[in-house]
Symmetry: C2
């Protein structure tokens, strides 16, 4: 019952994603045209839409492939782990064009399927960092008055806000200051 009709050509996925990546790097999100991707991949446009129901989801698939290789290994030192967590997100945001981040956020807010995908991208890291915060609070290493999930909102939200709205740079100094502002000063 599984493989009735003609099977899908397994090479098409990779060819399309490669072509999309090339177009993306050359022209950005807006400049990426599905027609051109199809032409470059040597594939019909309708074949692309059979796999990814919209341009946003096609690009989502690209990004997912890209960022799935970003590890996160908590060491147990919460201050260090949070710093690496924030720095890792900052690096990921820096690795792709700002306009793409913006369009992905917009697509996530507009289309539920994309939203689920974007959230799933970060779910693992968020859970790990929430746990690290809880542990640190239990150990008295940081103020206990705050909900860990809110702290995650503050950390990640500040990065997005700075990148997308204020447009100010996200450099290592900012990441340090942000973590310091959230955790409070060292209190051994």
């Amino acid at each position: 019952m599984v493989g009735r009709g003609r099977p899908r050509d397994t090479e098409i996925e990779a060819k399309v994603l490669d072509a999309a990546m090339t177009e993306m790097r050359a022209r950005g999100y807006d400049g990426l045209s599905v027609d051109r991707v199809a032409e470059r991949a040597g594939v019909a446009k309708t074949t692309i839409y059979r796999r990814w129901p919209s341009k946003a989801e096609l690009v989502m698939a690209m990004i997912t492939e890209l960022t799935s290789a970003v590890p996160f290994d908590p060491t147990g030192d919460p201050r260090r782990d949070l710093g690496e967590f924030v720095a890792g997100i900052a690096a990921a945001l820096d690795a792709i064009p700002t306009t793409l981040v913006a369009d992905l956020v917009a697509a996530a807010a507009r289309e539920p399927r994309v939203g689920v995908g974007v959230r799933a991208l970060w779910a693992h890291r968020h859970a790990a960092v929430s746990e690290a915060i809880t542990q640190a609070q239990a150990d008295g290493l940081m103020p206990a008055h705050a909900d860990p999930r809110i702290i995650v909102d503050q950390l990640v939200g500040a990065l997005y806000y700075r990148l997308l709205v204020t447009g100010d740079p996200i450099d290592p100094a900012y990441v340090r200051a942000l973590v310091l502002s959230t955790l409070g000063p060292e209190q051994s």
Copy 2:
């Protein structure tokens, strides 16, 4: 040297913004078509584009009219003022459709002119709240280890992040918890 050629019809601005508002409420940002706005306003599409160079800027003009009537009067009590600041932004974000917020953020990141407009919308409040934080720190009412601008990033960024990415609700309880997390517990 000022008014050479034929003067602009001053009624057109209001007619177009009204029509755009109606379409916006009925169909959202994506469903808003400049062709239909032109037809509803009884105006040529090119006349709209002569005033606003893109659909994003047309909608920006609408929003600017809407949110320009949101006051902010610091009382001097920093905890209360910050709470009202955050609640005011939350209310403004709640008053317009989420997808519109998302598209505006995307447009702000993509087109510099829109970015300037969005930032100008909030510049006054941001400055006021930064000042309130600085004053509160000087008075010893809240921890002095953080840069006020970073605190603003954390507060506003958390709201945007929750609204656009995680999709969780922004209710008064969340606003309270967010302010508490940022300021720390009461220390009179």
